[in-house]
C-alpha cells in the first residue's frame, strides 16, 4: 500500500482500466489478425505473395497522398492551433477543377497526344485552385476569429466544409466525374526493388516525394519558411521580431492548399472519380495521419500518411480476414503462460504498456484454448471502420504522435 501512496501522481482509476481494456482489445485483434493472416498464407488459404505486394504498393501510394493532405492539417494546426475541418474540401476543389481541364484536354486530343504536358497543366490548375480556396477560406472565415476560444474556429471550419461541399454539389451537380483514362504505358507494371509497381502508383509516389522534399526545403531553408516556424512557435514574439504574422499565416494556408491540390491530382490518377463528397473521408484520414505523425511535424505528417495508407490497405484484407484463423491450442497455452508470466513479473512496475501486452497475450491464450474464429463477411465494407478505428485509437492513445508534436505551449492545452 505504501508503494501506491508514494506514487501519488499515478492514480489508476476506472477510466484507466477502461482505457487499458480498450488497448488490450486493440492489440489482441491486431496481433491475432496479422499472425492469422500470415499463418493462413502458409497453408495457402490466405493472400498470395503477389497479393500482399499489391496491397503494400496500393497502401504506399494512397498513404503518400494522405501524407500530402496531412501536411495542410499539420501546418495549420501548428500555426493556429485548430483543426481546419475544411481542408478536405480544399483537396476536393483541386481535383474537381482539375477534372474539367483534363476533360477539355481529352476532347481536344492533348491528353492522348501529349499526356505529360496535359497532366502538368492539370496539376498546375489544381494546385492553383486549391491554393486559392485555402487562402480564401482563411481570409473570409478564420481571420476574424483569431484569439477566439479554440472550439469556435473548429465549428466554423465544419460550417465551411459543409458549405463548400454543397456549393460544389449545386454548381456541378451530384454525378461522379471520371477523369479520362491515363495512357496505357502508364498503367504497365514496372519492377522496382522486387515490387511490381503499376506506373500510375509509382508516379503518385514520386510526385508525393518530390513535393514533400520541395516543401521541406521551403520550410527549413527559406526565410518565409523560417517565419512560418517562428509563428508556429510563438505568434507574439514572432511579431515582435518583425514578422508579418498575418501574411505568414496566409502563406501557411497557401502552401497547405498547394499540397492538397497536388494530392487532388494524385487522387485522380489513383481513383479517377471525383464528386462533391470526395473530400470528406480522405480529409478525416489525412487528419488522422497528421496526428499519427505528430501535429506540427512535417516529416511526421508524411510518415503518418504512409503508415495510415498501409494500415488501411492491409487492415481489412489482412487483419480482419486473419481473424478466422483458429490459434492452435498449444500456441494458446503458451501465450496464456507468457501473458501471466509477464503480468506477474511486471506487476510491481505498474506500467500500462506492460499490462496491455500481458493482457493481450492472455486474451490470445483464451482465444486459442477456446478455439475462437471470427469470419467477417463483406470485408471491404469495413474499410472505413478500420480507418475510423485507427483515428479513434491514435487520438486516444497517441495524441502526441509517433514522431513528436511540434506545437506552441498555448496550443497544447
Amino acid at each position: 500500500m505504501t508503494t501506491t501512496a508514494e506514487r501519488a501522481d499515478f492514480r489508476f482509476n476506472w477510466v484507466d482500466s477502461f482505457l487499458l481494456a480498450l488497448r488490450i482489445a486493440a492489440i489482441f485483434v491486431v496481433v491475432w489478425g496479422t499472425v492469422g493472416a500470415l499463418a493462413l498464407g502458409f497453408v495457402g488459404e490466405g493472400l498470395s505473395g503477389s497479393a500482399w505486394k499489391d496491397l503494400i504498393v496500393a497502401g504506399l501510394a494512397q498513404g503518400s497522398m494522405y501524407g500530402l493532405i496531412a501536411l495542410g492539417y499539420s501546418m495549420v494546426y501548428g500555426v493556429l492551433g485548430f483543426i481546419n475541418f475544411a481542408h478536405g474540401e480544399v483537396f476536393m476543389a483541386g481535383a474537381m477543377v482539375g477534372f474539367f481541364v483534363a476533360d477539355y484536354f481529352f476532347t481536344s486530343g492533348l491528353w492522348v497526344s501529349n499526356f505529360v504536358i496535359a497532366i502538368l497543366i492539370v496539376l498546375v490548375v489544381a494546385v492553383a485552385t486549391s491554393t486559392f480556396t485555402a487562402v480564401l477560406i482563411e481570409k473570409v472565415a478564420y481571420r476574424p476569429l483569431r484569439n477566439s476560444p479554440r472550439l469556435i474556429p473548429l465549428i466554423t471550419s465544419i460550417g465551411v466544409s459543409f458549405f463548400l461541399q454543397n456549393a460544389v454539389l449545386g454548381l456541378v451537380g451530384p454525378a461522379v466525374k471520371t477523369y479520362p483514362q491515363a495512357p496505357t504505358w502508364l498503367s504497365q507494371k514496372i519492377s522496382v526493388l522486387g515490387l511490381q509497381i503499376e506506373g500510375t502508383k509509382l508516379l503518385v509516389i514520386v510526385i508525393a516525394v518530390v513535393s514533400m522534399i520541395g516543401l521541406w526545403l521551403f520550410v527549413e531553408r527559406t526565410k518565409t519558411g523560417r517565419a512560418m516556424r517562428a509563428v508556429a512557435e510563438d505568434k507574439e514574439i514572432a511579431a515582435l521580431m518583425g514578422i508579418d504574422v498575418d501574411r505568414t499565416i496566409v502563406t501557411t494556408f497557401a502552401v497547405g492548399g498547394a499540397m492538397a491540390g497536388v494530392a487532388g491530382i494524385l487522387w485522380a490518377l489513383l481513383f479517377r472519380g471525383v464528386s462533391f463528397i470526395t473530400g470528406f473521408l480522405p480529409g478525416i484520414k489525412a487528419f488522422t495521419a497528421a496526428v499519427l505523425g505528430g501535429i506540427g511535424n512535417l516529416v511526421g505528417a508524411m510518415a503518418g500518411g504512409v503508415l495510415l495508407g498501409l494500415f488501411e490497405s492491409l487492415g481489412p484484407n489482412v487483419v480482419l480476414r486473419g481473424l478466422r484463423w483458429e490459434i492452435p491450442v498449444s500456441l494458446g497455452i503458451a501465450a496464456l503462460a507468457a501473458g501471466i508470466g509477464v503480468a506477474v513479473l511486471a506487476w510491481r512496475r505498474g506500467r500500462v504498456s506492460v499490462a496491455s501486452v500481458a493482457g493481450a497475450l492472455i486474451m490470445l491464450g483464451i482465444a486459442g484454448i477456446g478455439q475462437w474464429s471470427i469470419v467477417i463477411p463483406g470485408l471491404t465494407q469495413l474499410k472505413d471502420v478500420v480507418a475510423f478505428s485507427a483515428l479513434v485509437l491514435v487520438l486516444i492513445f497517441k495524441p502526441s504522435g509517433l514522431f513528436g508534436e511540434q506545437l506552441a505551449d498555448e496550443d497544447r492545452a
Binding site: L145, G159, V385
Partner: protein, 599 residues
C-alpha cells in the same frame, strides 16, 4: 474634445468598401443563380404574380450588401457617424457595381454554353433572369433593380429609427405570412374560415397583392406604435428578471406553452402537425446536445450515434421483423411492457454514452470532437455492414415497428398529432431536466468545467464524473428522440443516421444559443420549422436541395457575427464578450469620474 463635426460632402465615402461590397454582391448573385437556386425556388410564390422565392433569393443581396457597403461602425466615445445622401449614393454605387457583375455573368452565360461544367446554367435560367426579353433589356433591368435596391439598403441607414422599423417590419411580415402559408391555410380550413385565407393567399400560392398591402400596413402600424425592438426588449427584460419574478414568468410561459401544445394539434392539419412533430424531435435532441456542448463545453460530433442506438433498441424490442431478437414488446406507456422498453432504451443509451464518453474525456476539446465523429461513423457503418446484418438487418434495416400505445390511443406516423403529443411530453421532461440541472450543483460544475478545466479540478469539481454525466444525460435524451423517430417512421435504416444529423443538431444549438434553453427552442423552430431536417421538409420545402448549403453558411455566419446565438444564455454571453463588458464598465467609470470632476 467638443468640436463640431466637420460636414462631409455627399461623395465622401469609403469607396474601397463600396467597391468591395458591390463586387461581393455581384458574385453572390451569380453564385446563387449558378447553383440553380433562382430556378428551383421560382415555383414558390411570395407575392402572387410579382415576386417568387427564387427572385427573392437574389433580390435580398443588393439590399443587404448596399446596407453593408455604407455601414459605419459607431465607435465608442466618438461622435456617431453622420448620415445623409452619402449613404444613398454609396448604396446605389454598390448596387450598380453588383448589378454590373451580375449582368456580365448573364451575358457570358448567354454567349457561352456552360452546361458542360455548370449543368444549372442553361437557356432556361437565362430566360428567367432576363425576364424573357433578351439579354440587353434584361441586363438593363437588372442594373436598375440592383442599383435601386442597393440604394434602398443605403437608405436604411438614413431613415429615422421608427420609419426604418416600420419598413423592415412590413417587409418581414409579408415574407413571414407567405412563409407560413401551409400552416395558416391548414388552421383556417379547420376553423372553417377559408374566406380569409382565400383572400390573403392567391390560388397558385403566395400572398395576393391586396393581402400583402394589408399585412404590410398592419405590421408597419403596429411597429410605429411600439417602442424599440420588441424582441430585444423582451430578451433584456427576461435576462434582468430576478428570483420570484422570473419564476412567475417561467411558470406562465410554461402554462401557455402547455395549453398551446394541447390545443394546437387539434386545430392544425396533418402537414403542420408533421412539421411540428419534426421540430419537437429535433428540439429534443438539441436539448440533449445543449447539455453536452452548451453546458459542459464538450463538442460532440457523433451525437447521431445515440439517436441511432435509441431507434435501433426500440426497433429490436418492438418489431416482429427484427432479425435476431424478437421480444415483440409493445411500447404501451400505460403498461409494464412499455416501461420495460423505455428502461432498456435508457440503459442501452446510458451504456453507450459511457462507452463513447470514457475513452474521450481526457482528450483536448478539438480531438474530442473528431473522435466522437469517428465513433458516430463507426456506429453507422457497423449497422450497415453485412457482418452485423443478422442482428440489425444491414441496409434493409428493421421494418414494421408497431405503433406506440397510450391507453386507447395509438401513436404512429400516420397520425402526426399523436406523435406531436408524445414529442411534447418528452420535450417537457427534457426542458425540466435541463433547467433543473443547469441550476444545480452539477450545472455549476459544468459551467466551471467549460470555462477552465484545470481551475475547476483544483476547486474540487470531479471532472471525469461530470463530463461523463453530461455525455450520458445527452445520450439518454437523444435515445428518446431515436425511440420516437422509430415509432414515427415505423422502420429504421442506417441511412437515417448520417453525420449530417449531428451537424444539424449542432447548428440548432449554435444558432439558438449555446447553453440557453429558450435559444434552443427558437433555434429548432426557426431552422427545422422553416428549412427542415436532414430528410424532413420544412415550411420552405423548396429549399430542400439547398438546405445543407444554408446550414453550412449559417454556421459560419453565426460563428463570425453572433457566436452567442439568437437567444444567448446570459452566462455564455458574458464569457464571449468579456472584454467588451469590461471595457464598457471601464468607460462608464471614466465617464462618472469625469462628470464628478466637472462638478
Amino acid at each position: 474634445m467638443n468640436q463640431m463635426p466637420t460636414r462631409r460632402s455627399a461623395t465622401d465615402l469609403d469607396w474601397d468598401r463600396v467597391r468591395r461590397w458591390g463586387i461581393y454582391a455581384g458574385l453572390t448573385m451569380a453564385f446563387l443563380s449558378s447553383i440553380g437556386m433562382v430556378e428551383s425556388l421560382d415555383k414558390r410564390l411570395i407575392v402572387d404574380p410579382i415576386l417568387s422565392l427564387g427572385f427573392l433569393a437574389l433580390l435580398w443581396v443588393p439590399v443587404a450588401f448596399g446596407y453593408a457597403a455604407t455601414y459605419e461602425e459607431a465607435k465608442e466615445g466618438m461622435a456617431a457617424p453622420e448620415k445623409g445622401e452619402r449613404d444613398l449614393i454609396g448604396g446605389l454605387a454598390a448596387g450598380l457595381i453588383g448589378g454590373l457583375f451580375f449582368v456580365a455573368f448573364i451575358a457570358i452565360a448567354d454567349a457561352v454554353d456552360l452546361r458542360g461544367v455548370f449543368p444549372r446554367i442553361g437557356p432556361a435560367l437565362i430566360d428567367l433572369l432576363t425576364f424573357g426579353r433578351g439579354t440587353a433589356v434584361g441586363g438593363l433591368l437588372w442594373l436598375m433593380i440592383s442599383g435601386l435596391l442597393g440604394m434602398f439598403g443605403g437608405l436604411l441607414h438614413v431613415l429615422p429609427v421608427r420609419v426604418r422599423r416600420a419598413v423592415t417590419n412590413a417587409l418581414t411580415a409579408v415574407f413571414l405570412v407567405a412563409l407560413v402559408e401551409i400552416a395558416v391555410v391548414d388552421i383556417f380550413e379547420s376553423l372553417r374560415l377559408t374566406v380569409i385565407s382565400d383572400w390573403i393567399y392567391a390560388k397558385n400560392g403566395g400572398v395576393t397583392i391586396a393581402g400583402a398591402i394589408v399585412v404590410g400596413a398592419l405590421a408597419a402600424l403596429s411597429s410605429v406604435r411600439s417602442e424599440g425592438d420588441a424582441v430585444v426588449r423582451f430578451r433584456t427584460r427576461y435576462a434582468t428578471m430576478e428570483g420570484d419574478e422570473r419564476k412567475r414568468f417561467n411558470l406562465i410561459a410554461g402554462a401557455v406553452g402547455l395549453v398551446l401544445a394541447v390545443v394546437l394539434p387539434m386545430v392544425l392539419g396533418g402537414l403542420t402537425n408533421e412539421l411540428l412533430a419534426n421540430v419537437g424531435l429535433f428540439l429534443l435532441m438539441a436539448l440533449g446536445l445543449n447539455l453536452v456542448v452548451g453546458y459542459a463545453g464538450l463538442l460532440d460530433l457523433g451525437y447521431v450515434a445515440f439517436f441511432a442506438v435509441g431507434a435501433y433498441t426500440t426497433a429490436i424490442l418492438t418489431s416482429p421483423l427484427s432479425p435476431k431478437w424478437t421480444p415483440m414488446l409493445t411500447l404501451d406507456f400505460f403498461s409494464i411492457e412499455g416501461w420495460v422498453v423505455m428502461v432498456v432504451v435508457v440503459a442501452v443509451a446510458a451504456l453507450s454514452g459511457l462507452v463513447v464518453g470514457t475513452p474521450v474525456i481526457r482528450l483536448r476539446g478539438d480531438y474530442l470532437a473528431i473522435v466522437t465523429l469517428g465513433f458516430g461513423e463507426i456506429v453507422r457503418i457497423l449497422f450497415l455492414s453485412d457482418w452485423l446484418a443478422p442482428a440489425f438487418g444491414g441496409a434493409q434495416g428493421i421494418r414494421n415497428i408497431p405503433a406506440a400505445v397510450a391507453g386507447p390511443a395509438e401513436i404512429n406516423g400516420t397520425k402526426p398529432q399523436t406523435i406531436f403529443y408524445l414529442v411534447v411530453i418528452f420535450v417537457g421532461i427534457a426542458v425540466y431536466v435541463a433547467w433543473r440541472l443547469y441550476h444545480s450543483r452539477i450545472g455549476r460544475a459544468w459551467a466551471a468545467l467549460r470555462e477552465d478545466e484545470d481551475v475547476a479540478e483544483a476547486m474540487g469539481v470531479e471532472t471525469t464524473k461530470m463530463k461523463l454525466l453530461a455525455f450520458i444525460t445527452g445520450a439518454i435524451l437523444a435515445s428518446f428522440g431515436g425511440m420516437i423517430f422509430a415509432v414515427k417512421v415505423g422502420s429504421v435504416f442506417p441511412s437515417s443516421f448520417k453525420l449530417i444529423v449531428s451537424i444539424i443538431v449542432l447548428v440548432i444549438v449554435i444558432v439558438g444559443g449555446m447553453g440557453s434553453i429558450p435559444g434552443v427552442v427558437v433555434g429548432s423552430l426557426v431552422l427545422i420549422g422553416i428549412l427542415g431536417g436532414p430528410t424532413q421538409p420544412g415550411l420552405l420545402a423548396e429549399f430542400g436541395e439547398f438546405k445543407l448549403l444554408i446550414y453550412g453558411a449559417l454556421l459560419v455566419f453565426m460563428m463570425l457575427r453572433r457566436p452567442e446565438g439568437l437567444w444567448p444564455s446570459v452566462q455564455r454571453q458574458r464569457e464571449l464578450h468579456q472584454e467588451e463588458i469590461l471595457q464598457d464598465a471601464w468607460l462608464k467609470a471614466e465617464a462618472a469620474a469625469d462628470s464628478a470632476g466637472e462638478r
